[in-house]
């Protein structure tokens, strides 16, 4: 599923429009992290992930992706729909009654693309480790990817999962951390300092890659390629991806204040004016 870089840039812009419009329409949801991770999602689904359609829960012989920080569901839903998992039209049902697009991702309503619920933080890495172990046991050479937030690393279960992945030599797994330095109550260093994050992962036995600009689409793709080339050598791989929360909408950038707040009509229009190029809104 490879597209040229200009097509991916256009997709990223459309995904950002989708995020702003989805959150505006239901007046709830999490635009900040969604906008910050847009380039990652577009790079992953547009250039890396070997997925099959129609969606099957089992995911045999295809790459699997798990989103641990489930609150950035708008970006995932947009990218899934624009990758053919379900009709783009369905994005308008986000967070509304009788929708498959729950506030946080769920399997319960049968939305294609989702394999486990997330939202209660800190659980996704464990699930990804399990899925990767299953692939190894069943001699399935496809890969497992996961994304987690940086604030989410406050949750102890992550470190259980990180330790277990190294212990079991889960070297078919690429985890990316959205290292935007923000969490709900403020900057991570003030709320719960992550300390020397690369050293922590490294000391837990992971191969650590640092992605200096997770909002540079080409750099994201290159780093994901690099990560892939380092697999199957006995270690799981983590990409510590620096992003800017709210990237693409100037008044939402660099602040935790847009973590979980919806724009009003004026703010929505201002945002869309900054993201003019469209492939066709939902």
């Amino acid at each position: 599923m490879k597209k040229d870089i200009e097509a991916l840039r256009a997709m990223a812009n459309q995904v950002r429009r989708d995020i702003v419009r989805m959150v505006y329409q239901c007046q709830s949801g999490h635009p900040g992290g969604s906008l910050g991770c847009t380039d990652f999602f577009v790079a992953l689904y547009g250039s890396q992930l070997n997925y099959k359609l129609p969606f099957s829960m089992e995911g045999k012989e295809e790459d699997l992706f798990f989103l641990s920080n489930g609150h950035i569901s708008p970006v995932w839903y947009s990218v899934l729909s624009r990758s053919g998992f379900f009709p783009t039209e369905e994005l308008k049902t986000f967070r509304k009654l009788n929708s498959r697009l729950q506030g946080h991702p769920a399997t319960h309503e049968g939305l294609p693309g989702i394999r486990v619920a997330s939202g209660s933080l800190g659980q996704g890495l464990s699930v990804a480790v399990g899925a990767a172990l299953a692939k190894k046991l069943e001699h399935d050479s496809a890969l497992v990817y996961a994304l987690t937030g940086d604030g989410e690393l406050d949750e102890g279960q992550n470190w259980e999962a990180i330790m277990s992945a190294a212990h079991h030599k889960v070297d078919n797994l690429i985890v990316t951390v959205d290292w935007n330095g923000q969490q709900i109550d403020g900057p991570t260093e003030k709320i719960m300092d992550l300390g020397d994050l690369p050293a922590k992962w490294n000391s837990f036995g992971w191969e650590v890659l640092i992605l200096e600009n997770g909002n540079d689409l080409e750099l994201v793709i290159d780093t994901l390629e690099l990560a892939k080339s380092r697999l199957h050598q006995g270690k799981p791989i983590v990409i510590l991806m620096k992003t800017i929360m709210g990237y693409g909408v100037d008044f939402m950038m660099h602040s935790h204040k847009w973590h979980g707040v919806a724009p009003n009509e004026e703010q929505c229009n201002t945002a869309l004016n900054q993201l003019k190029e469209t492939l066709g809104d939902f």
Partner: protein
């Protein structure tokens, strides 16, 4: 006429031993079964499984939250993970992981929990969980199975592999009479172990045997009882319960669990909707346990044979 006098007691064995044997047997028949433990391989009697299927066994260390998530992830491809740790660490410690990654996500994970209840004994209240049935049965889609002896635990361990969906399988530590070897077993079907006309004794787990003993004492006083073994708490065999209670109009429930949230509550809820009935509860009354020998603890906390007899007489007198 079904009678406890026809039950053949074949010594004593811990229900966890039945789990160990059942797990290996199930895995021989189904290559999709994998097993995980959180540093309690020996206590859960999973040694034989590890020996037979080393590549399908996963030691997860003392990290139960991660174990539950890993099991959920493994199940996606079609594997059937059985997690093994103490009941306390299988439920309360990891409730949110079970709720989101397993139950809400409808993952085919078998949560196998040993050392449940007071009969864990000397380790004391930190480990004697008495709330687990309640927590697990509240989760939508979670099957809850509590077998009464080692043989039934073996059969239940094998049977749950055929049910697609999350299961909580609860068993225990102490050696306990084995008396169900001649009986058929089907998930979701209550077992009628004795027929009588005065009282319906409805029990689960270790307390089924205590009810067998209580029935003998009550019979000497001319009180005859149905005895229903509810090995599957959820889904409950409502038909069997209502059939028995329609005859006796008098109920005693018995469980190694808190009075809140367990089997007794479930039966009372069912009967209040369909057949309001006098009921007495033999259960732990809103307290934690303590260190001691299993038999001593059962007596101190009101779960002994004498307590069932007392409960039965009280229910019987209220019925009159």
């Amino acid at each position: 006429m079904i009678s406890i006098n026809d039950l053949v007691v074949q010594g004593k064995k811990a229900t966890r031993d039945g789990f160990g044997v059942g797990l290996t047997e199930a895995a021989k028949m189904n290559p999709k079964i994998v097993a995980l433990t959180a540093d309690l391989l020996g206590s859960l009697k999973m040694d034989e499984f590890k020996k037979e299927f080393p590549e399908r066994f996963f030691q997860m260390g003392i990290a139960e939250a991660n174990m539950m998530g890993v099991a959920a992830g493994m199940s996606i491809s079609g594997l059937i993970p059985y997690t093994g740790t103490f009941a306390n660490f299988s439920t309360g410690r990891v409730y949110d992981q079970i709720r989101q990654s397993i139950a809400y996500s409808h993952k085919n994970v078998k949560i196998c929990a040993s050392h449940a209840g007071l009969t864990l004994g000397e380790d004391g209240a930190t480990h004697q969980i008495l709330e687990d049935i309640g927590m697990m049965r509240m989760l939508p889609g979670m099957m809850v199975v509590v077998p009464c002896d080692a043989h039934q635990t073996k059969l239940a361990t094998m049977a749950i592999a055929h049910h697609h969906g999350p299961v909580y399988l609860r068993f225990g530590r102490p050696a306990w009479p084995v008396f169900t070897e001649s009986l058929p077993f089907e998930i979701g079907k209550a077992q009628l172990l004795n027929e009588g006309s005065d009282i319906s004794l409805i029990a689960t787990g270790h307390m089924v045997w205590n009810c067998v003993e209580a029935i003998k004492i009550l019979a000497q006083e001319g009180i005859t009882c149905d005895l229903l073994n509810i090995h599957t708490i959820k889904p409950l065999d409502e038909e069997a319960v209502i059939k028995s209670v329609s005859k006796t109009n008098c109920v005693v429930t018995a469980e190694e669990h808190q009075i809140n949230g367990g089997l007794g509550d479930m039966i009372a809820g069912l009967l209040s909707r369909h057949h309001p009935t006098v009921q007495e509860f033999v259960a732990v009354c809103d307290s934690f346990g303590e260190s001691g020998k299993p038999d001593e603890l059962l007596i101190k906390y009101g779960l002994g044979v004498a307590d069932i007899v007392k409960g039965a007489k009280k229910a019987w007198s209220r019925k009159k």
